[in-house]
């Protein structure tokens, strides 16, 4: 059974694997850090958050300062999907962000029906029905 853990990651419970939900690439052991199976790129934040104020005129331009902020981009090696972005400080070890108890997860899903897609958001409240007096004439 597959459990959808994020927009791009699933855990295959039987095989205990992190998988890419876009291309089924086997990223790594579910008991480990999925990031270890991804590609990483150190993105200069100015390439994403472009300077809008003229950098020749101003020190602060709406761009993050590249010495104060880097964006680690984690790509699926199978399909190139951007699985995670991590806003961090230069040199800071990437976070082992998702560290789940796989035995507990198996026990939890043992009696749950398999899901074919992630659960939808709860529906917006339906508009209140006006009370009709049924005067049909």
């Amino acid at each position: 059974m597959k459990v959808f853990m994020t927009e791009y990651l699933a855990i295959d419970l039987a095989r205990e694997l992190w998988q890419c939900r876009r291309c089924d690439h086997e990223i790594g052991p579910a008991r480990g850090n999925y990031k270890e199976g991804l590609l990483v790129y150190d993105r200069d934040p100015r390439e994403i958050h472009r300077p809008l104020l003229d950098p020749a005129k101003y020190r602060l331009t709406f761009s993050p300062h590249p010495r104060w902020c880097r964006i680690l981009e984690f790509y699926c090696p199978g399909c190139g999907t951007l699985v995670e972005t991590e806003y961090t400080v230069p040199g800071h070890p990437p976070l082992h962000d998702m560290d789940f108890d796989i035995d507990a997860l198996k026990a939890q899903w043992k009696d749950r029906p398999p899901m074919h897609e992630p659960a939808p958001a709860p529906a917006d409240e339906p508009p209140l029905k006006r009370h009709c007096h049924g005067h049909s004439h």
Binding site: L39, R50, T61, P77, Y87, L105, A119
Partner: protein, 758 residues
């Protein structure tokens, strides 16, 4: 003698001896500081004997439900009363709440539209009043008493919020408490407006009211009121809003009496307690539904409002069975002379509010939502500051604290078979607004803040874009106010009021909601000034989710040494009603242009000088390459996004004149970008071997842990220190002006040396 030695000595005493010691200590306490026992326990207590009697019987659930409905109607009514009558700008636009607590002081229900944090924090002062004042012969507790309070160390978010707290009696017996809280603004601090970034000690922060009785027999005591009015810049505000909060409490009490007259006291007491126990049970059930494990997130705050430095907010959530632990250890230490520290109680209340707004918004709003959750902190850290640390601008870490559970819980809840709300990237999380002070065109002294603090952009969801400038991160029914109304009262004119800020957003498959630009200037007053109290000008404040990007970094921009009203009269075409154009063109003759970080301490503003800020965007969700090209075009058409960014960031190929997408070319461009990612991305092991350093970059002023939460780094360069997280001591920062003076003196010395040499 320390508390510890007292405890150890007390262990060897008999019960009688112990009671004697307790009595002695109670009668000989020099100063009733905040009570650790109260302040460090956020959970609701056990049932009282009365609650046990009522609930162990068989209360009629139908009657309890009718009571609940009547109480919520009363809370809603009193919320509206305060909003309609309140004087504070915060009250007019919804920064308020009314609440009902059990006889023991546990929060049971708040006004449905109200700001949860305000009530979620009031149980602390109520428990203090019950423990100390009720039994004190010089104070006591009677029908018609009203207690005022604002000091965070006794339980509050920051001391610009003031509460009125009243006990409610039935046939001589205390049956509940009611409260009403408003973000008042002005509080007599060293800077006007109640949020002093310049405060260097708690003595600079204005009124610090431990809970005291200002209302007796439903009447405001004029002597105490005068003392309070005498201590703040806006005596009118202080008086009017005490009256407004008192009347809201009185109305709540009337409604409670009517409920008891109709349904009986037991149904009322049972309903209050059941509200708490039902939420507690439901929260435990929901935690059991989550996967067991740990999710780690972190955030960096990039300034103290006085200087720029990087402060780590370390956060992990561990779920095991029905237990949830929020671990904030390894975060930044406290600053002994900066006002951005927060108390543990304020922190917990904001974290709890995050759960109520963003994780389980369908639950009744009370503190039981947080009772099953444990919070771990390092004492004397930014997030659990000592009694002596200033905290008037605790919003700096607290606004982030609403985001931390959002980031972490998305990773626990994505897999859930049933959702209680959408999957949400972070809301924008900075208190961006103008704080102001001075003498108005009506010759009144005032100081307060603009309700634009309520215009934070919403985060993207997993199935749609975020909403623009939708609400503050701490509430959802607050508005940004009517500018015309403000301009009538204040010598402030908005050249641009709320213009969505193009290209400044969290990009993603679904993008964050945008904030808006504001251009503001003073008019009709020669004694006026502004301040701003935000961070995130170097390191973005709101992050994205699952591949989405965060908000950009927002500067403050100024055009000084010019009177824009003269320009508009003589040469209106020179002016640009757009922050980016105005700043980049620099067309106003003689004007000085500059950008600065968002923490501006109070600054006098001459008439016609222009101050500009942007409200922020929420985080984006998902990979930009998955964004529907038609949604990209919609953003371009609505002038939220530049065509260049549509091409270069979203890789959409389109005709700029018609905005018609070339679907095949777009697919090819996106495929090419995916291939480019595969080429530039490096395998993790290889990447971290190069990337990771043993400590923060040497030249970066950094505060907090790096790889080990036990080791706290503080400072930069040669003065950087390592502290033990278990024995943290506060950090004292040098005055930025002293540093600047030293820098300039060194320059002068160097110039003199060169001159002498030449």
């Amino acid at each position: 003698m320390t508390q510890q030695t007292i405890d150890i000595a007390a262990e060897s005493l008999s019960d009688d001896e112990r009671a004697l010691v307790d009595d002695f200590l109670r009668d000989n306490t020099l100063f009733l500081a905040p009570d650790r026992e109260i302040m460090r326990n956020h959970a609701h207590g056990p049932r009282s004997r009365d609650e046990e009697r009522v609930l162990s019987g068989e209360p009629d659930p139908h009657a309890l439900n009718l009571v609940r409905g009547r109480l919520y109607a009363a809370l809603d009514e009193t919320y509206d009363m305060v909003e309609q009558m309140g004087t504070a700008p915060g009250a007019k636009w919804g920064d308020l709440v009314t609440g009902i607590y059990t006889a023991r002081g546990d929060l049971s229900a708040i006004s449905p539209k109200g700001v949860v944090v305000f009530s979620g924090i009031c149980h602390y002062p109520i428990k203090f009043i019950a423990k100390y004042w009720a039994k004190d012969p010089t104070v006591g507790l009677s029908e018609g008493d009203g207690f005022i309070h604002n000091d965070s160390r006794y339980g509050n978010i920051h001391n610009t919020d003031q509460s009125m707290i009243m006990p409610v009696f039935h046939e001589g017996e205390l049956i509940c408490w009611v409260s009403s809280t408003i973000h008042e603004g002005e509080n007599g601090a060293c800077e006007p407006g109640g949020m002093p970034a310049a405060a260097e000690s708690k003595w600079d922060e204005g009124l610090k009211m431990s809970p005291f009785r200002i209302v007796e027999d439903f009447q405001i005591r004029r002597d105490l009121l005068t003392y309070l009015q005498n201590s703040v810049r806006d005596p009118k505000l202080q008086y009017e809003d005490i009256k407004v909060k008192l009347h809201a409490c009185v109305r709540l009490i009337e409604r409670i009496r009517a409920v008891i007259a109709k349904y009986g006291k037991d149904a009322f007491v049972g309903c209050l307690r059941k509200n708490i126990e039902d939420v507690d049970a439901e929260v435990r059930r929901r935690i059991r539904e989550m996967p067991d494990g740990t999710v780690r997130v972190q955030a960096f705050i990039d300034g103290t409002l006085r200087e720029n430095c990087l402060m780590k907010w370390n956060f992990s959530v561990t779920v095991k069975g029905e237990k949830m632990i929020l671990d904030c250890r390894g975060s930044c230490p406290e600053f002994t002379n900066r006002s951005i520290n927060t108390t543990l109680a304020s922190l917990k209340t904001c974290l709890a509010t995050s759960y109520l707004i963003y994780i389980w918004p369908d639950l009744p709003h009370n503190m039981a939502v947080f009772s099953p959750i444990e919070v771990l902190t390092d004492e004397n850290s930014l997030l659990d500051a000592s009694f002596d640390a200033p905290n008037a601008m605790s919003l700096t870490p607290l606004f982030k604290s609403f985001s931390m559970p959002i980031y972490a819980m998305a990773k626990f809840l994505y897999s859930a078979p049933k959702r209680y709300t959408s999957v949400y990237a972070s809301h924008f999380n900075q208190p961006f607004t103008f704080v102001y002070g001075g003498i108005t065109q009506h010759s009144e002294v005032t100081g307060n803040f603009c309700a634009d603090i309520n215009g934070n952009g919403g985060g993207a969801r997993f199935d749609r874009d975020g909403e623009h400038a939708v609400s503050p991160i701490f509430g959802y029914m607050c508005d940004t106010g009517e500018q015309e109304f403000n301009e009538e009262e204040l010598p402030v004119l908005r050249l641009v009021s709320q213009h969505l800020s193009k290209d400044r957003m969290g990009f993603g498959k679904y993008r964050g909601g945008l904030g808006y630009e504001q251009m503001i200037t003073a008019r009709d007053s020669d004694v006026w000034g502004f301040m701003t109290g935000g961070t995130g000008s170097f390191h973005p404040s709101a992050y994205g989710l699952f591949g989405g990007y965060g908000s950009p970094a927002y500067p403050l921009a100024k055009v000084k040494d010019v009177n824009v009203f003269d320009v508009l009269k003589s040469n209106p075409r020179q002016f640009r009603f757009d922050m980016v154009e105005l700043m980049n063109e620099q067309a106003l003759e003689g004007a000085t242009y500059g950008t600065y970080h968002m923490g501006m301490t109070f600054e006098p503003a001459a008439q016609g000088e222009v101050y500009m800020i942007c409200q922020g965007s929420g985080g984006g969700y998902g990979d930009v390459l998955e964004r529907d090209p038609e949604l990209v075009m919609k953003d371009v058409e609505e002038e939220l996004l530049s065509p260049d960014l549509a091409r270069e960031l979203y890789f959409v190929v389109f005709d700029e004149a018609t905005l018609i997408v070339d679907a095949a070319a777009t697919a090819a461009a996106r495929d090419a970008e995916r291939k480019a990612r595969l080429a530039r991305g490096r395998p993790y092991a290889e990447f971290v071997a190069d990337w990771c350093t043993a400590e923060p970059p040497e030249d970066l002023p950094y505060y907090g842990s790096w790889d080990d939460p036990k080791v706290i780094w503080a400072g930069q360069g040669e003065t950087r220190r390592q502290l033990d997280a278990d024995t943290l001591a506060g950090i004292m920062m040098p005055n930025p002006k002293d540093l600047r003076i030293a820098e300039l003196e060194a320059e002068i010395a160097e110039l003199k040396r060169r001159q002498a040499g030449a």
